[in-house]
């Protein structure tokens, strides 16, 4: 067998899984770093990196843990949702909007959190941003430990005095922990406040005990008592044409708290 034919035979016997013609000029693999080892290293590196990403994601998504400054999530989405929409105190949107939606919510209430995360974005984008609706938020506390909820309500009210209540609320619910587990700490509120552009978190923390903040919390408690009596249930909504008498929204199922269900009820209420 000649040299030329031996080379041809060797090409055919190459342990190549794919085969195919061999163009000239390709670099030869080094002795140790065979293609199989290269692939093994690449996949191993990939799995380590993917594992690290998943680990960071899992660590940042623990619902019962207390979010630290490093694990506050949803900042970009919250800021995008409310960017350019006017707000004052506990009112979001154009004060002259033809319709009004009033929300009564408890900071620890899981359904309030679900509504804020899943349905609020749709309401803000399709109704508030378009000028059709304004939202009035009333925070109330009745879930134990109520001192935790009151701590949050103070921060909401104080953020309202800086026209950032709805960003703080939204971010708060995106990072909501399990009710009754004592997750609403000053550290958490400060971290959330620090994540809202334009909100002075130190001032917010100090203003929680201000007369204005206390007044808003008391006003919300009075409004809730007028609507619900002594049996608080959250979230509770009222809606209707602005300036008229607002009626309770007949929401009785979880589906009606979702974007499509809520929209159907809201459309009916504000068109009356």
């Amino acid at each position: 067998m000649g040299k030329a034919s031996r080379s041809k035979a060797q090409r055919r016997l190459v342990p190549s899984p794919a085969g195919g013609p061999a163009p000239a000029g390709r670099p030869a693999p080094s002795g140790w770093l065979t293609p199989a080892r290269t692939l093994l290293i690449g996949v191993a590196v990939a799995l380590v990196v993917a594992g690290a990403l998943i680990g960071v994601s899992v660590a940042g998504s623990g619902s019962s843990s207390k979010p630290s400054p490093a694990t506050v999530t949803g900042v970009a989405a919250t800021n995008a949702l409310f960017r350019g929409i006017p707000q004052s105190g506990n009112v979001l949107g154009n004060r002259n909007a033809p319709a009004t939606l009033v929300e009564f919510a408890e900071p620890q209430c899981p359904y309030c959190g679900a509504w804020a995360r899943e349905t609020m974005p749709t309401v803000v984008r399709d109704y508030v941003r378009t000028g059709k609706l304004k939202i009035v938020f009333h925070g109330i506390s009745f879930i134990q430990p109520t001192s935790d909820s009151e701590r949050a309500l103070g921060a909401f009210a104080a953020a309202g005095s800086q026209a950032r209540q709805f960003q703080l609320l939204d971010l708060f619910y995106r990072n909501q922990g399990e009710e009754g587990t004592g997750w609403i700490s000053d550290d958490l509120l400060r971290s959330l406040g620090s994540s809202v552009p334009g909100l002075d978190a130190d001032r917010m923390m100090a203003d929680r005990s201000s007369a204005a903040a206390k007044s808003q919390i008391q006003d919300s408690a009075k409004a809730a008592a007028q609507v619900m009596g002594s049996h608080f249930r959250t979230p509770t909504f009222q809606a209707g044409p602005s300036g008229g008498t607002l009626a309770p929204m007949p929401i009785s199922t979880v589906d009606q708290l979702g974007p499509d269900g809520f929209r159907a009820v809201l459309d009916h209420m504000i068109s009356q």
Binding site: S61, A77, A80
Partner: protein
């Protein structure tokens, strides 16, 4: 399929994946409504799983597809190996996010599922390309 065609396929698929990721990044930062037929896009997009250490996963995806596109532009086993590594990272993390949608969030985002399909195709094409690139190299070395 030739290495050239595989590289072209990887480049095209990367552009498709980057397009999906770019759309999700745009809606996230602009506040625009997300076109959604599955009903769960908003839920997924606003969930805790849509960010890693404060960085939206769509941004990570956009960067990943861009780098895979660049690896497709350069010939050779090293570029192919880098492409495989990035694609496997993408597949593994996408599998985790699919699990999160199905089990933890209980909502499905069509854009995420579309991305899952694209990144899987990219990974298969990258693996195929890696084998062909190294087949050439081994064959050339053996034939010397």
């Amino acid at each position: 399929m030739s290495v050239g065609r595989l590289r072209a396929a990887i480049a095209m698929l990367s552009l498709l994946g980057a397009g999906i990721a770019a759309y999700l990044v745009y809606t996230r930062y602009s506040g625009a409504s997300l076109f959604c037929q599955t009903g769960g896009c908003e839920t997924v997009q606003n969930s805790k799983y849509s960010e890693v250490a404060g960085i939206p996963v769509a941004v990570l995806g956009l960067i990943g597809y861009a780098v895979i596109f660049v690896t497709a532009a350069f010939p050779g086993p090293t570029s192919a190996a880098l492409g495989v590594t990035l694609a496997v990272i993408g597949v593994a993390f996408s599998a985790y996010l699919l699990y999160a949608q199905l089990v933890l969030i209980d909502a499905i985002c069509q854009w995420c599922v579309a991305n899952d399909v694209v990144i899987t195709l990219v990974a298969l094409a990258c693996l195929w390309r890696f084998r062909r690139e190294n087949a050439y190299s081994v064959a050339t070395a053996s034939g010397r």
